[in-house]
């Protein structure tokens, strides 16, 4: 169980007209074993925030604390210490996996980063990981191009779980998937979070999908968090006008006549 605290985090990118502030003094908190949903539209800075948390993007200000200890990503050693605790799954199912490695190779590589495993232990670990994310262990020797988009995202989740992290960041992992596939992946994520007691940061632009898996939801706009509230409260009584606008924009099926 790991708690994440982010205080006044600022991330800047180099733009064509000088630096652009993508994340502007964001503070948020994920208590151990809970899921924080982060929702926002394109360009709101939510992906920059996720990348900064795992050291893929440099941070320009603020602090990130894991269980009260400051996170550093300067050296490979720092990154490895962070990688044991925090893992990320990204958006694009097409590039999520190395196209030249089988599912087994991908998972074994991840599982042996921090632990030595002998041959039988590796096979067992691969089977266990695939079953964990709801995949047939028979898929282990396939290449990514022989898998569907939803299956690839599940393998990516399994790879992230292979190191046994305590915090999982899911950055738009269902955005490129069809609705029926998205539903299955959302179910898996929710199930995993409960079964493994993971802390989770679930990022997306689709409000219903984010709300479905989150205990608390933070709404981000132009690099700032405009509202954070428990999911039920946010849905029932949104306080910020932008949250209300987002909620109103969600398409809803008209109630039936029959």
């Amino acid at each position: 169980m790991t708690a994440l605290q982010v205080r006044d985090l600022t991330v800047r990118h180099h733009g064509p007209h000088g630096p652009v502030t993508a994340v502007d003094g964001v503070s948020l908190e994920i208590p151990p074993g809970t899921t924080l949903g982060l929702v926002g539209e394109s360009g709101s800075g939510k992906s920059s925030l996720a990348h900064a948390l795992v050291g893929l993007t440099p941070v320009h200000g603020g602090r990130v604390l894991l269980d009260g200890r400051e996170v550093r990503v300067r050296t490979v050693g720092d990154r490895r210490r962070l990688g044991r605790l925090v893992q990320i799954v990204l958006q694009d199912p097409d590039s999520a996996l190395d196209p030249r490695m089988t599912v087994r190779q991908t998972l074994v590589e991840a599982a042996t980063v921090f632990h030595r495993l002998d041959r039988p232990a590796r096979a067992a670990r691969v089977t266990g990981l695939l079953e964990l994310v709801g995949l047939d262990p028979g898929l282990a020797d396939r290449l990514p191009r022989q898998l569907s988009g939803g299956q690839r995202q599940r393998v990516a989740v399994a790879r992230a779980l292979a190191v046994g992290p305590e915090l999982l960041i899911a950055d738009e992992i269902t955005s490129a998937l069809d609705v029926s596939v998205q539903a299955a992946v959302l179910n898996t994520i929710r199930d995993l979070q409960r079964r493994l007691g993971l802390s989770m940061l679930f990022i997306g632009h689709n409000l219903p999908a984010v709300c479905h898996v989150s205990d608390t939801v933070a709404v981000m706009r132009d690099g700032r968090i405009v509202e954070t509230a428990p999911t039920e409260a946010l849905l029932r009584s949104p306080r910020h006008p932008y949250t209300r606008a987002l909620l109103d924009s969600v398409p809803r099926l008209p109630p039936g006549r029959s």
């Binding site: 539209e41 990204l90 029926s180 539903a183 632009h205 479905h212 909620l247 924009s249 398409p251 099926l253």
Partner: protein, 616 residues
């Protein structure tokens, strides 16, 4: 690189193989066969012209030029290969390293590569050959160093593409060490194009080495290669062109071999998709026109040739729209919804084969028209709005041009008239007339989509087909665009075919909904029946799998197990049968037709969801 079988049928691949084999054979055998003749001076036959004994004459020591040219194959090839391999190794390591080192080191390396690239390789090689001292080793080393920046840039570009992928980011977060990232994840994924580049570079190195020797900077006498022989031949070219021509031809032959080898390896010599050979059947006249339909489509099918075989992504689609009606066409990726729209608008690529029983736009039969007439009818009767407004507008033309060009071409309108109408059209989509002077990159995504809609309105069309017009936009902008389309329908009476993957959006915004699965329409129903009155098991499942803000979050979302059928292996029967919870024996054998349930709803299912289940 595995060589696909199609190479066996490519004459160019065979020619290249023969040329390469001949070069290799010469390099191996020529010094053994003609080496002695090439080195034997003959004072009595100095600087002779062509004769039967010496087809290309003799040189200043009376040695046979032909024998020397053939014998020089080995050193010329070997030295070029050595220089290429050295340069490639250095360059690739330098370039690929940019993907795994830290930010600052990456910028430094990139700057260095940029700096070196500013100088042409030949000039660098000449400079270095002078510095290293004229001679074989100096020339090879010079060429290797001169080749480094080119390889480094290529490797850098390729590695940057890998570095941007999610799997490399994931590998970094896993804490893999740099050398492992480089060897395991970066290099294997860029090896193929680099191998290809090495082939071409070997040809370039061969030519450059010949050039250095030609200048007197390469191989020094008594050793010789083609470049040096060419240099010697050039001195007497006016008396005797052949001694210069022979080594020249040898360089040319080798250069062409490597060039063609590159083409063959890149797969550019074998034809990929064979164009369908059978001519399209002459279009039959459409069935009788039904009164008052804006669009009448019956039994529309599309066949597309792909590298793996011919697929039928659209099979037997019927649809019709009345004036002022908004119809949603909904389906998941690969269901054929966009291809249906493109087929109606006659925008499919040439290889696609379209068949239909009826295709009428505003009552006119598109099938029997001349292409010219059809263009006019489609241009004036139908407007298309595409998915990605960022790429659907031409980046280099002003909005004014893009709005007015169609009316000027088809209605013969003057520039001023057209501009006035364009301002009106912009006002209809709530944009100021100043937008006319802008270029697309100065507008936001939502503004661009409004411009696309305005461009459609310029023609006052009877039908607007909007193909996923909001998918690339944010959800708050999506609402504005659908409201805009509703307003246009109200004001102009145009019918709208709205294509989307989002069943909730379609249900909210459209009058009637067509659900598409694997190229067929499986259900047609009024939008307000979607939530509780869908009868096809697929529609039912699709509706259920949408996360609902009001739903109980502790219950898992209903899902559809399995995957859509492989378009390359169509099975008889209902395409949804393998995934269907309500399948019967009949479903696997016979595809259900789209049959009327009542006046407003049609479903293609042998065993539709009963109403009582829906009600509960």
């Amino acid at each position: 690189m595995p060589l696909p079988r199609r190479y066996l049928r490519s004459p160019m691949a065979w020619i290249t193989a023969v040329m390469l084999a001949s070069l290799l054979a010469l390099a191996l055998a020529a010094p053994l066969l003609w080496g002695a003749a090439a080195d034997r001076p003959n004072p009595s036959a100095v600087l002779q012209g062509p004769s039967t004994a010496h087809p290309f004459g003799t040189d200043n020591l009376g040695r046979d030029v032909l024998a020397r040219v053939l014998t020089a194959t080995r050193p010329s090839l070997l030295l070029a290969l050595a220089a290429t391999l050295l340069g490639a190794t250095g360059g690739i390591l330098l370039g690929a390293a940019t993907a795994v080192v830290g930010r600052r080191a990456r910028r430094l390396l990139a700057g260095l590569i940029n700096l070196l690239l500013a100088f042409p390789a030949l000039l660098v090689a000449m400079f270095l050959a002078v510095v290293f001292g004229a001679g074989t080793a100096g020339a090879v080393l010079a060429l290797a160093v001169a080749g480094i920046p080119g390889f480094a840039r290529l490797a850098q570009t390729l590695a940057a593409a890998v570095a941007g992928t999610d799997h490399l980011a994931a590998a970094r977060v896993l804490g893999l060490r740099r050398h492992r990232l480089l060897w395991r994840h970066v290099l294997p994924n860029i090896a193929e194009p680099l191998l290809l580049a090495t082939t071409t570079a070997a040809g370039t190195a061969l030519v450059a080495l010949a050039g250095l020797s030609f200048l007197g900077l390469g191989v020094q006498p008594p050793a010789y290669d083609w470049g040096q022989l060419l240099n010697q031949g050039l001195d007497r070219i006016f008396a005797d062109p052949l001694p210069a021509l022979a080594p020249g031809l040898a360089v040319l032959y080798a250069a062409l071999t490597f060039q063609l080898l590159g083409e063959v390896l890149a797969g550019r010599v074998a034809r990929r998709t064979p164009a369908p050979r059978t001519p399209a059947p002459p279009p039959a006249p459409s069935e009788r026109a039904e009164d008052g339909l804006v669009l009448q489509v019956e039994d529309l099918s599309v066949e597309l040739p792909t590298p793996e075989g011919v697929i039928r992504p659209v099979c037997g689609v019927d649809l019709s729209l009345r004036p002022g009606e908004i119809v949603g066409l909904v389906g998941e990726s690969g269901s054929g919804k966009s291809l249906t729209a493109l087929a109606i608008a006659d925008l499919l690529p040439e290889q696609a084969r379209i068949t239909r029983r009826t295709l009428r736009l505003l009552g006119a039969d598109l099938a029997t028209m001349t292409p010219r007439q059809r263009d006019r009818d489609l241009a004036t009767g139908l407007a298309m709005v595409f998915q990605n407004p960022a790429s659907a507008l031409n980046p280099s033309l002003r909005i004014s041009t893009q709005l007015t060009e169609a009316v000027r071409a088809h209605r013969g309108m003057s520039r001023t008239e057209a501009l006035t109408q364009a301002s009106d059209a912009l006002r209809q989509v709530a944009l100021p007339p100043t937008v006319l002077r802008a270029r697309p990159h100065q507008l936001s995504g939502g503004q661009r989509q409004r411009v696309m809609i305005a461009a459609g309105l310029m023609m006052r069309p009877g039908l607007i087909i909007a193909d996923e017009p909001t998918t690339a936009l944010d959800v708050t902008v999506q609402r504005q665009i659908t409201q805009l389309l509703s307003g246009i329908r109200r004001d102009s009476g145009a019918a709208i075919l709205f294509i989307s993957h989002d069943i909730a959006l379609v249900g909210e915004f459209c009058d009637r909904v067509l659900v598409m699965y694997a190229g067929t329409i499986v259900e047609s129903l009024p939008a307000d029946r979607l939530a509780t009155g869908a009868r096809h098991p697929y529609t039912h499942a699709l509706v259920a799998s949408v996360p609902d803000l009001g739903a109980d979050r502790d219950r898992p979302l209903p899902t559809v197990p399995g995957a859509p059928p492989d378009p390359l292996a169509p099975a008889p029967g209902c395409p949804f049968e393998p995934r269907c919870p309500r399948r019967r024996d009949r479903c696997a054998e016979q595809a259900p037709p789209l049959g009327d349930l009542d006046a407003e709803q049609r479903v293609a299912c042998w065993n539709p969801v009963p109403v009582e289940v829906l009600a509960s």
